[in-house]
């Protein structure tokens, strides 16, 4: 059933910046119908400070993941950073984060790009590297300061955040992988051309042919290959471009709302792109009990989805309190107005 996998999550960490802006503040500034905000199920979004970016947030999440893992960093043989908001167009963030964490020089390191699912792909790659014995531990970071053209409906949700996972041997893991299934196709739902500061997208975000088609196919593929039924899962965590899509796709796949809601953070932090599903998974791990089964399904435009099945182990309890928790960061917030949002996200260019 496990395709011979013997790989698990050894440590996890998340990062949500302290600042929040209310979606209704953005809507009223640009004249959006408040009903639109309601229909997207978005209250507020997390905004990175002026001195934060995908690298600094990724560093914070990765540090928590390593602390929870409790491993010797010299045994980390790979680091992958999934992001679509790298500070440099050319120059890896992975090396900056690795050096700041004192990881060994002898390792693989790369930034991956596949819109919001690059970090999901990094998990797939890590499953291969760890199960083949090529590396003992692989560090996966998903981090984004999501861009949105001011006045674009995307601005209601495009947010900042990070999550990181140490992937390693099943023995000693907090949750082990039972199965995986990836579904991709060429679907032009959302893109950002080289040199363009903001992405373009089709009809209000990515809808039926993109988000729904790819997640449904990945999850159904996983269920088929491993003979799972919706009832087998205690939690389901989806990529979350807004607060509505994950509920819709989850119900469509036969899961109850109670299994979707614990991992659905979009209404309070927005869409953190590569971190969106992974912060949701962190939140679920922090409240899960040994033996529970979690479904994780990422999504990235362009488009693709990875579905993973995970089983929580006894180790989880001893790791939760070793680093800052998602709920702590959700509570520790300061509201800012549109003016400070503009300053923080450098939407005004000084000359």
């Amino acid at each position: 059933m496990s395709k011979g996998l013997s790989v698990g999550i050894v440590g996890w960490g998340a990062y949500i910046p302290r600042y929040r802006i209310k979606a209704l503040d953005i809507a009223s500034l640009w004249g959006f119908d408040p009903q639109l905000v309601k229909s997207l199920n978005i209250e507020e979004k997390a905004v990175a400070n002026v001195d934060e970016d995908a690298t600094t947030m990724g560093w914070y999440a990765a540090r928590s993941a390593i602390i929870r893992a409790g491993i010797d960093v010299n045994e980390i043989g790979a680091i992958f950073v999934g992001t679509e908001s790298k500070p440099y167009a050319v120059k890896p963030s992975a090396t900056i984060i690795a050096d700041a964490l004192n990881l060994p020089n002898k390792k693989l390191a790369s930034d991956l790009e596949f819109a919001c699912r690059a970090a999901g792909e990094a998990i797939r790659i890590s499953l291969g590297l760890v199960s083949s014995g090529m590396v003992k531990y692989s560090l996966v970071v998903g981090s984004d300061t999501a861009q949105a053209n001011p006045g674009d409906v995307l601005e209601l949700t495009a947010a900042s955040g990070a999550a990181a996972y140490v992937i390693g041997p099943k023995e000693g893991s907090v949750a082990y992988f039972e199965g995986y299934y990836t579904f991709i196709s060429d679907t032009p739902d959302f893109w950002r051309r080289d040199g363009s500061p903001y992405p373009l997208h089709g009809e209000i975000f990515t809808d039926e042919p993109a988000y729904f088609t790819h997640i449904v196919n990945a999850v159904k593929g996983l269920m088929r290959e491993y003979s799972f039924k919706p009832e087998d899962f205690d939690y389901v965590v989806f990529h979350q471009p807004n607060g509505r899509f994950p509920l819709k796709v989850g119900l469509e796949l036969g899961f109850t709302e109670a299994k979707i809601l614990p991992g659905l953070l979009n209404p309070w932090i927005g869409n953190t792109y590569n971190a969106a599903a992974l912060i949701g998974l962190a939140r679920v791990l922090e409240e899960s009990r040994p033996g529970q089964r979690i479904l994780l399904a990422t999504f990235g435009s362009g488009a693709g989805s990875d579905a993973f099945s995970l089983v929580v182990t006894d180790e989880v309890k001893s790791k939760v309190d070793k680093a800052v928790k998602v709920m702590d960061m959700l509570r520790n917030k300061v509201y800012i107005d549109y003016g400070r949002y503009v300053k923080f996200r450098k939407l005004l260019v000084r000359v």
Partner: protein, 126 residues
């Protein structure tokens, strides 16, 4: 700039093995007793604000971060002159508990992004 990354990103100071003085940034000789018998030490990642000052008109390049709060932080392992972030000037006080975090400094003229340690109010764990 990147040659300084150990100092900027890892809070490494030096300890004088002659008189015990710990100093940051690291130096080849002790500023107190001039001994060259020094070793690198990690200063720790959290501490308390000893004193601070607010720079309302910073030098060119730092405008987006103004007002800049520069603080002397005692980490227990040593004293660090650092920038505070995620906090407003009227929220800072002497004795405030702070933790180290990696943040961006002002981009250099050729577009390099220096990542450095700053301190922010300590995260609360529930």
């Amino acid at each position: 700039m990147w040659r300084l990354k150990d100092i900027l990103l890892n809070l490494v100071g030096t300890k004088c093995l002659n008189c015990g003085h710990v100093f940051y940034p690291p130096k080849a000789a002790c500023p107190k007793c001039s001994s060259r018998n020094v070793k690198k030490v990690s200063l720790g990642t959290s501490g308390k604000v000893i004193t601070y000052t607010v720079v309302n008109v910073p030098i060119e390049g730092f405008e987006s971060m103004s007002p800049l709060i520069i603080a002397l932080v005692d980490t227990g392992g040593g004293k660090v002159l650092t920038q505070l972030t995620n906090v407003k000037p009227d929220e800072v006080y002497v004795g405030m508990e702070v933790e180290a975090t990696v943040r961006r400094s002002a981009t250099t003229l050729d577009g390099y992004v220096p990542y450095i340690i700053k301190f922010k109010p300590k995260e609360r764990y529930s």
